[in-house]
């Protein structure tokens, strides 16, 4: 899976969790949760959805490495290598 495909998946999952937002306008360095107004509960649903869709498990201690779109992308790229 290449970066564009992962990005597409991320946007789809975010859109599902925060249906009233437009995830594709996220800038690479913006904090995803702050920008889209995602609370702790929705954030956990997003982590679960990523696990189910892409098969990657993000442990709690790594949550801090997934705050922005570019961080999350490189984190996932590393995991699925």
């Amino acid at each position: 899976m290449n970066e564009d495909e992962i990005k597409k998946n991320i946007f789809q999952l975010l859109k599902k969790i925060a249906p009233d937002t437009e995830p594709s306008v996220l800038k690479p360095d913006e904090n995803i949760r702050e920008t889209l107004g995602i609370d702790s509960f929705d954030a956990l649903q997003f982590i679960i959805a990523l696990n189910e869709k892409l098969g990657i498990e993000i442990p709690e201690k790594d949550y801090g490495k997934t705050n922005t779109l570019s961080d999350l992308l490189s984190y996932i790229m590393n995991k699925i290598k």
Partner: protein, 391 residues
Amino acid sequence: MIEFLMPSLGADMEDGTLIEWKKRTGDSVKRGDIIAEVETQKGLIEIEVFDEGIIEKLLIEEGTKVPVGTVLALIDPIEVSLETKKEKPIELHPIQEKTTEGITQEAEREIHIKASPLAKKMAEDHHIALFQIKGSGFDGAITKEDVEHVIAQRDVIDKEKTVIETEKTVASSEAIRAAIAAAMSKSNREIPHYYLEKKIDLTKALTWLQEANEQRKVQSRLLPVVLFIKAIAKTLLDFPDLNAIWDNGLKPKKDINIGFVVALHNGGIMVPAIHQADLKTVDEIMQTLNDIIPRARAMKLRSSELSDGTITLTSMGDGGADAVFGVIYPPQVAIIGFGSISEQPFAENGMLGVRSVVNATLAGDHRATDGLTGSQFLNLLARNLQKPESL
């Protein structure tokens, strides 16, 4: 005969529209069964029944808006459990049974109604009972024109219903705003609030949570708020005066049902209750949240979830404000607030360290309790959160 009333789903509710009956005349019901769906300012709510018996009569037609307290149905309080065995075999042909019954009753009535053959045929084709039509012909006989009139009226009503329903969906966020405005104004008008704040060290609780979550699949991970809910429930066992309602005096409640504030994506809040939170494990509380938060956001809650709260919790979550001083949801007498968790310098036993800290607050109804009770509550809550393993 038990009268089943339009329930009040909070201090702010004045009326509701009966959208759909989920049970029919003759159906047996037991406690907790969903009897109807009612449209309120808080969405389409599944209304539960609290008695056992057989439905004798449904009094209100679908699509009717009625005030709180209106009798919706009559329930015959027959011992359902004893009857169930006998009834089962009959249930194999429930539709046939009912139809025969219906026709006999209607046929009896219609013997005395005069109508032209064409009018009879038209009424039958449009499923209109003759006794519902007012005859304008000779000796009150029903004519073709009378039936056409009823059909036309019915079409207009159907169209109006659709329009009303569409308008409701559009206006729902306004309706929620209005419901919140009514409840909070009432609270501010009637409840003399006092406010207390306590800084709580969460280091142990979060360490325990992290270790617990490492053992878990991502699907069953716990959120810190689950520990807050469980700790509040446990602490309330020692403070019955805070788990209560004010209704011309303080009335403590037996069950600890924690109303949990859920923010809606388009603005507004819903406060579904987590029933008997003191009897639930932390995992069961997490499962309850997984169930009620999405349903609250979709505005598909049950009547008991909206009306049974005995105290409220509002939690800011990550990145939110440091502390929240809530407005009590009447007729409750307390609301607990948790700010966002942050790392702070924290002095304990003469030592200074960096700890994960949260500011917990309590807004109490001063008619019901005093600051001393509230303060003791927050102290015990803080102590209970130091022993996450025994929550």
